[in-house]
């Protein structure tokens, strides 16, 4: 006999597969347009999927909003730059790098993995202090962490180049590369959510007192999720750097934090599908706005939105979602195959 629980578990395993197929279809469609701007938009969107799904691993399961995840992207981007840039270029741009990094000229894949690992290590150390705090205090501490990382990066000129940009990163991030990492992030996120630690962390999100009475060590599970979460934000940062080819600390500061939060809120923080759908919805809306900002011609008149209006419109969209659909577009639900498809016999148990 197949129990309802088994059916539900099988349905849950279809979620990452369906999300991966959705992203695959998205890439195929945008590439079919044959438009270079559309291909760029696809890569950018998929990098954001990696970032936001990474962010969701922590924020979605723990219910603690972090403002610090853009800092992990910042660290990831610079780690990848330090390890992959041409040594001759580093000698002039970043004279303060230690010899091992100054001479490094790695392949981009180990560099991306290292970017994730360094971000994760930083999360493990800082999280050990921050995550002992309760809900809102922890959120504010993550914001302080973001400000610290940004200040250090903007002033540690010999190593980071300071506020001037680091240029010349190999631009290897095609839509397919970005798709690969986005799918990896989705798989990791759904494996974590299905694990005992994921369940324990969601229990603390619902009720801290009852969770500790059930023997759950909230701090340990939060720290694990925070570390895993930072890994994918670190990788996402590296991808973002290699997508544009130019990085500077302010590219990974308040506007990225805002964008990641807006995407998660619009899609719905309560589910992995919400994180992915939020990125797609906001990215497509932004793309439409960018085209409007450039202006379009209708008959003899040219219409254009004033520059900078996209941030305002994203903010308004976020507020509207909070007012009219507070749990986000997906409202905590996952995209999954219906029960009768996974039982294999076409019989519904419900």
């Amino acid at each position: 006999m197949i129990t309802q629980h088994r059916i539900r578990r099988r349905m849950a395993t279809t979620t990452p597969i369906l999300l991966a197929l959705l992203l695959l279809a998205f890439v195929a469609l945008t590439l079919a347009l044959g438009d270079r701007a559309a291909a760029r938009m696809a890569s950018e969107t998929l990098i954001r999927v990696t970032l936001v799904v990474g962010f969701w691993i922590f924020a979605g399961n723990s219910g603690v909003i972090s403002f610090g995840h853009a800092a992990f992207a910042c660290v990831g981007a610079y780690v990848s730059a330090w390890t992959t840039l041409n040594p001759a270029m580093k000698a002039t741009l970043l004279p303060g790098l230690p010899p091992a990094l100054a001479e490094a000229h790695w392949h981009v894949l180990p560099a991306a993995l290292t970017a994730g690992l360094v971000a994760a290590a930083l999360a493990l150390v800082t999280g050990a202090a921050i995550l002992r705090l309760s809900g809102i205090a922890a959120s504010i501490a993550t914001f302080a962490f973001l400000a610290m990382v940004n200040t250090i990066w903007a002033n540690w000129t010999p190593v980071t180049g300071g506020t001037s940009s680091v240029v010349g990163l190999a631009r290897y991030v095609t839509p397919w590369v970005a798709l690969g990492w986005a799918i990896a992030a989705i798989l990791a996120a759904s494996l974590y959510a299905a694990s005992a630690s994921g369940l324990a962390l969601r229990a603390t999100r619902e009720d801290e007192v009852a969770a500790s009475a059930s023997g759950i060590d909230q701090y340990r599970h939060r720290l694990l999720a925070y570390t895993l979460s930072a890994f994918f934000c670190g990788v996402g940062g590296a991808l973002a750097g290699h997508f544009i080819g130019v990085i500077n600390p302010d590219g990974f500061y308040l506007s990225l934090t805002f964008l990641m939060l807006a995407m998660l809120v619009v899609g719905g923080i309560g589910s992995l599908s919400g994180a992915v759908i939020g990125v797609l919805a906001v990215s497509l809306a932004v793309e439409a706005l960018v085209r409007l900002e450039k202006g379009f011609t209708l008959g003899t008149a040219t219409f254009a939105l004033p520059p900078g209006s996209q941030e305002i419109i994203i903010a308004v969209a976020m507020i509207l979602v909070l007012v009219f659909r507070p749990a986000g577009l997906m409202a905590g639900r996952e995209i999954m195959l219906p029960a009768r498809w996974v039982t294999g016999r076409g019989t519904s148990q419900n």
Binding site: Q4, H5, R8, A196, S197, L199, A200, R202, A203, R205, E206, D207, V209, A210, A211, S212, A213, S214, G215, I216, D217, Q218, G270, G332
Partner: protein, 239 residues
């Protein structure tokens, strides 16, 4: 040896003293009711035993091991489980997920499936609603879920804070029926905070009457009504 021993316990919130000089022991397999008026310190007592509230003074022992000073999650791992006041189920998780949360700390993973079956047999409604969000259950069903969830940690001692709070009398009967049969089945030691001493007398067991943070009477629950100790505790001069 007593299963649970409380020695000279004091609990303070700032300058306010909730419990002072409290001592008693609970034997293995015993059913102990804690009763008394609002502000008597009943919930503070359970909080101190379960580790949720720090003790200002004194010692709490289970099987001779000292529990005081450990956090609630470590006390739960030692086999002391708490059904908190107001149930505090995980409303956004399914009924089955609520039950599985408590099993994360267990080493005997193989026995978990058996215990899940036991919980479903004791509370058939939980099996029916296993995949429903726990927040959608009625008050009585949530109380049963909270009890079943506490059982899933495989406790030796279970503390239950006001299980009858906000429930219809018929539902309270049902909750106590299940609680007593589970106690018999698992050899649990039960400590229950219960406002209604007539209810405690009907269910049967030992009863401790508290007032102003102290014990004013300790004896068989059925004897309390007759001895008029209750009105003394509620309306008499403060000790």
């Amino acid at each position: 040896m007593a299963k649970l021993g409380i020695h000279d316990l004091a609990v303070r919130y700032g300058k306010l003293t909730a419990i002072s000089d409290l001592s008693f022991t609970v034997a293995e397999g015993e059913r102990l009711f804690i009763s008394g008026p609002n502000g008597a310190g009943k919930s503070s007592l359970l909080g101190a035993i379960s580790g949720a509230v720090p003790a200002a003074h004194g010692r709490i022992e289970m099987d001779g091991d000292i529990l005081s000073g450990l956090g609630p999650e470590r006390i739960a791992r030692r086999g002391l489980s708490m059904v908190p006041e107001g149930r505090r189920i995980f409303g956004g998780l399914t009924v089955q997920e609520n039950l599985m949360v408590g099993t994360g700390i267990r080493r005997d993973r193989a026995a978990v499936a058996d215990d899940l079956e036991t919980a479903f047999t004791a509370f058939p409604i939980l099996r029916t609603r296993a995949q429903a969000p726990a927040g959608a259950l009625s008050g009585g069903q949530q109380q049963m879920l909270a009890i079943a969830r506490a059982l899933m940690t495989n406790p030796k001692v279970m503390l239950v804070d006001e299980p009858s709070l906000g429930l219809a009398p018929k539902v309270v009967d049902e909750v106590y029926d299940r609680l007593c049969s589970l106690q018999a089945l698992r050899g649990l030691t039960l400590v229950i905070v219960e406002q209604s001493s007539t209810r405690a007398a009907r269910v049967g067991g030992r009863m401790i009457l508290m007032r102003g943070g102290r014990i004013v009477a300790d004896g068989d629950a059925a004897g309390f009504a007759a001895a008029d100790l209750l009105s003394e505790a509620y309306f008499g001069d403060p000790a």
